[in-house]
């Protein structure tokens, strides 16, 4: 009951007109950048961080929460409406919506994605409201040894499991941890890897790295292999409120609920990430479909849009559970949210619900509000999103670079930071080119100092005995779950590859026929 009262107080804050405006701004920016290829919510939060210094913490966090949810809605519009030939089947889930649009059913695909996202987002936020305080209560009791175990799980799942290549993910993680070490050691005040430079002694700013990797690296990479010519968007016809037929509703509601049930738990465990959830939902919808509907999979089955989109949004809410209660981000966007908190001297973790109660509950309340705004805005405004989607790419990437340069310069107001931005951008370019994922680097950079701190505390308590790290029953349980997660992930990767292969085969048959 206590939590209910807290939530109501959160609504009282989030419903103030000025905060409603910030939430609206956040979801609009979030949807716009979600629609645009090349810009994700992680990049947007990174870009906006230096220039939102003048906002109070509550306003800034509400804006970032809006961007976080808005980005999910916008992304589905792009995958449904953008006609990009030659896209591989790596994103099986995007396939169905795109096929529906090509068959003239784009409107229904957009509608089931938006309504499914709203239902999943709302249900998952309710789950977050009730689960998070209990996780926080549990988390207060665990010590540094258990924290080390949780962070090892987060590192290994984000680094080794989420990308296509285990070694490249770990390399990316290692680079992030290395950069995190550069600067002055917090405990002993010794300089590490500064090579006598006063500039490096301050450490490398996380925002600079994130903007460099996400914005500049992406712009460089796209520039190197830009798809020239006009952006082809599949037209959407009819009025938005007649998009869903009776049959579409009856085929969508179960996938929405199943997607939510899959997405939220997958998001909460540190093995999360929305990709895993969307894939699981897609695979189960395909398995459950019967007869004519099963044959539609690969050619535009509405279940294949409704389920994964719901799972995607539910997972996004689930990711906030470890972020808020343990201070452990499991996606690049969550990592940037953590940095946003730290900028305001707020450390997400077990004590957050006690020390910053008002802020946390205002954040959670604004998630409900933002979700509702997104549903109300998204379908009627689809014309605007299509316009945004059609921005000529030279202007889009020029604009991204201007914003990146602005963000980098605003960190310390010196041109040296923009030089560093350029160098990090070049690193981001080569990482993309050679298939190294970006997220592990960012997560490693942000969690690295916290991890080292907890590791040293654990070993100080055990007087240097490393066996103590696995002797606590809870920690041992966490490591055991890591083994299970790895086993499941290997199985899933095989399934995913098989599914991708059949989807590609179906695609090729269609092309040759």
């Amino acid at each position: 009951m206590d939590n209910f009262i807290h939530l109501m107080e959160g609504f009282a804050v989030a419903a103030q007109p000025v905060y409603l405006l910030y939430a609206l701004g956040g979801v609009l920016i979030g949807t716009a950048v979600g629609v645009l290829p090349g810009i994700g919510p992680a990049m947007t939060v990174a870009l906006l961080m230096p220039i939102t210094y003048s906002l109070d913490p509550t306003a800034a966090i509400i804006v970032f929460a809006g961007i976080y949810y808005g980005g999910m809605y916008g992304g589905s519009t792009t995958s449904i409406l953008l006609n990009t030939p030659g896209e591989s089947a790596s994103i099986v889930t995007a396939l169905e919506g795109n096929r529906m649009a090509k068959a003239g059913r784009g409107a229904a695909a957009l509608a089931t994605a938006a309504i499914g996202s709203f239902i999943a987002g709302t249900l998952a936020t309710i789950a977050l409201t009730f689960v998070a305080p209990y996780v926080a209560e549990f988390a207060v009791q665990i010590g540094p040894v258990e924290y080390v175990a949780l962070m090892v799980v987060a590192f290994l799942t984000v680094g080794a499991l989420l990308g296509a290549s285990v070694l490249r993910g770990l390399a990316s993680l290692g680079i992030g941890l290395f950069v995190a070490v550069v600067g002055v050691d917090q405990l002993t005040a010794q300089q590490r890897y500064t090579f006598g430079s006063a500039f490096l002694a301050d450490g490398v700013d996380v925002v600079l790295v994130a903007v460099g990797l996400f914005a500049v690296g992406e712009a460089f990479y796209v520039a190197s292999r830009l798809r020239h010519g006009p952006v082809e968007v599949i037209p959407v016809t009819g009025r938005w409120n007649t998009w869903m037929r009776r049959e579409d509703w009856s085929r969508s509601w179960k996938p929405w609920l199943r997607g939510t049930a899959i997405g939220f738990p997958v998001g909460t465990i540190p093995a999360g990430g929305a990709d895993v959830a969307t894939f699981l939902s897609y695979a189960s919808e395909r398995k459950l479909a019967k007869g004519r509907r099963k044959a539609q999979f690969g050619k535009g089955a509405i279940e294949g849009v409704a389920g994964p989109e719901a799972a995607n949004n539910a997972a996004a809410a689930g990711v906030l559970v470890p972020l808020l209660t343990l201070g452990i981000p499991t996606t690049a966007t969550a990592a940037m949210m953590l940095v946003a908190f730290q900028r305001y001297q707020i450390q997400p973790g077990p004590l957050l619900f006690e020390s910053e109660s008002a802020l946390v509950w205002a954040l959670i309340a604004s998630l409900y509000v933002g979700n509702l705004m997104l549903l109300v805005l998204n379908l009627p405004l689809v014309g605007i999103w299509v316009k945004i989607l059609q921005i000529p790419r030279p202007y889009l990437y020029a604009g991204i670079l201007v914003f990146a340069a602005l963000g980098a310069y605003s960190v310390n107001f010196t041109s040296v930071d923009v030089v560093l931005l350029l160098l990090i951008g070049v690193l981001g370019f080569f990482m993309r080119r050679y298939g190294y994922p970006i997220a592990p680097l960012v997560v490693g950079l942000i969690l690295g100092p916290i991890f080292e701190n907890q590791l040293r505390r654990s070993l100080a308590i055990s007087q240097g005995d490393p066996l103590a790290l696995v002797q606590s029953p809870i920690a041992a349980g966490i490591y055991a779950s890591l083994v299970v997660i790895f086993g499941l992930s290997i199985w899933m990767r095989r399934r995913q590859r098989a599914l991708a292969a059949t989807a590609v085969a179906a695609d090729e048959r269609e092309v040759t026929a």
Partner: protein
Amino acid sequence: MTAQPTAPGDSRTALSGRVGELLFAAAVLSLGVTGFLAGAGIQTPPSASDIGPRAFPYLVSTLLVIVGTALIVQVMRGRTGDAEEGEDIDPTVRTDWAALAKLAGFLILHIFLIEPLGWPVAAAVLFFGVSWALGAASWIRSLVIGVVLALILQVGFAGLLGVSLPAGILEGVPFLNG
């Protein structure tokens, strides 16, 4: 990338196409080696009650050395990474190094222009240059959008939010001072 990947995680490319990737893997390895060499210079206070400031850097360097070595072996044996895909990426074209050089060049020009001419001018030049390098249809339109965007950002962030962006040659114009 001269050859198309055949399947995820199992792409085979001729050795000539793997040089860049080998160099990147070697860079990962050498970062780890650097970590050990430079880590030896980290001072450990004798009074430190814990494992000290040197242990964690060594741990990270170990990870980088192992992963870097394994990557070199993997790439030598012909298994290359899958280049990232995206909606704006054309998988069939060759790398356009000239466009990349232009982008980097304009970013460097931007850096040199901030102090003498002010942020708005530097930003307008950056926008114009990059959109031109990426093949914008009309350079006049690029110029106009660049100038307007730079002024809006300067007014919005410097004038209204108080972010200290130097106005440079526009110093003294109302709303533009950071």
